[in-house]
Symmetry: C2
Amino acid sequence: MAEREQTEAEYLASYNPRAFPPQSVTVDMVLLTIRDGALSVLLIERGGHPFKGYWALPGGFVGSDEGLDEAARRELAEETGLEEFPGHFEQLRTYGAPARDPRMRVFSVAYLGFMPNLPAPMAADDAAQARWWPIADLEVTDGDELTYDQLAFDHSAILLDGLDRARAKLEYSTLATSFVKSPFTISELRRVYEAVWGVKLHDANFRRKVLSTEGFVVPTGGRKSIGRGPGVQLYRPGEGKILFPPMLRPAWDESE
Amino acid sequence: MAEREQTEAEYLASYNPRAFPPQSVTVDMVLLTIRDGALSVLLIERGGHPFKGYWALPGGFVGSDEGLDEAARRELAEETGLEEFPGHFEQLRTYGAPARDPRMRVFSVAYLGFMPNLPAPMAADDAAQARWWPIADLEVTDGDELTYDQLAFDHSAILLDGLDRARAKLEYSTLATSFVKSPFTISELRRVYEAVWGVKLHDANFRRKVLSTEGFVVPTGGRKSIGRGPGVQLYRPGEGKILFPPMLRPAWDESE
DNA sequence: ATAATAGTGTCTCTCAGACAGTATGTG
DNA sequence: CACATACTGTCTGAGAGACACTATTAT
């Protein structure tokens, strides 16, 4: 007897998605800001299993009718307590080693976010506490401080990838402005670069570079009085997104 | 009666992964090469539902005990028919719009690969045919040619993201060498840039840039005779991975 | 010889690094 | 006043764009 070829509708009706082993997808955030001149990452202390008591990147499962960016935006709103996320975020990369989560096969789509240092609620949604950790403190290996390898899951690797991406992004984009509240001074913007890159930049040359790059910053006309020195010219972010020629990072440590 | 706190082992034993709606993860490849001077992408014609008869990026489901890079490497081996993939590949980004696959919730982790133009078997593993499509042919919107919007799923968006990434990568990395068979001439390397960027480069300045960048190319000492012109010096890829200062792309079309 | 491509040399302009120096406020 | 920070100006050297020119070989 002749078999009629199956239509797409028939194929879909007979398709059984439960035939595959269960897998799940989460969104995890590397959320960076600058507090007291130090580049810092938001971590939460896990209140439940697995990795109970460990510090981890904030994140959660992707809802069944939710896109990835949408899930990231929801996580950001929950973590910062703000409806609209006041900064920049972008997808970082996806992690899917078979045993990275002991519960089941879980793929994590990591996102990278930059935001200014807001005195915001920063309410953790569940019982776990949330706090900003200076990156420099995570790099010490002695003492009883938190270090990279004490993070839950593979979050230390995700954090390191996020830091690499953030450092590279400042070179060829204007995203440094998303680390500061607007309006800001040129020196505040310079301190963003210094905090993220961990270097000292030459004040005069930095100023010339920023002001000569069209679309990077726009003067607001306002001035701000600060101790020790004259009033300071204020700026807001410009329309430009890419920085060309790029800002050059001194002491080239791209060795790894 | 006092409830004892649950241990992680107990938690995992009681964890039911089937409590969540089924989701799945695939790996899709944007595999690029240069054929007859034209940047080209490998596409397969789908032999089964869904999107039967449409052209699509090669890819497949991630095995339950398989990492993401591992799955990409397996796909590359299947598509090229070569055990070891002769080029470069890296993760591009992940796509997870809720309705991007009509069967179920499928997340696609896209990879980007560069390889030289090999007269390799290129055996499609299943019944579908596989072939290289010149990118320029996909950009025409009139006629009955294949165009971007005739690709299956959201593969046109993935392809466009891959092209963007490839074009950017050539600026600040030495990865152009993974598009050519070694040994190669400086002019062959220049034609890689010209094909990927779609521009003409100035021969003398390109040569100076490549040869003055330490670690980009290494002379093999060999020469190659070619019609119309003198013998040509041959090179192989150097150890350097990043290109600093970057190769500058003329006619800045990064507007989008 | 002619055409075509490989390869060298040089001028100019842009821009980053370095540094001197001025202005203006606070202790 | 001393000092710290904001801001301006200038010199220099590296490197990219443009172009002229030579070398070599197939037709």
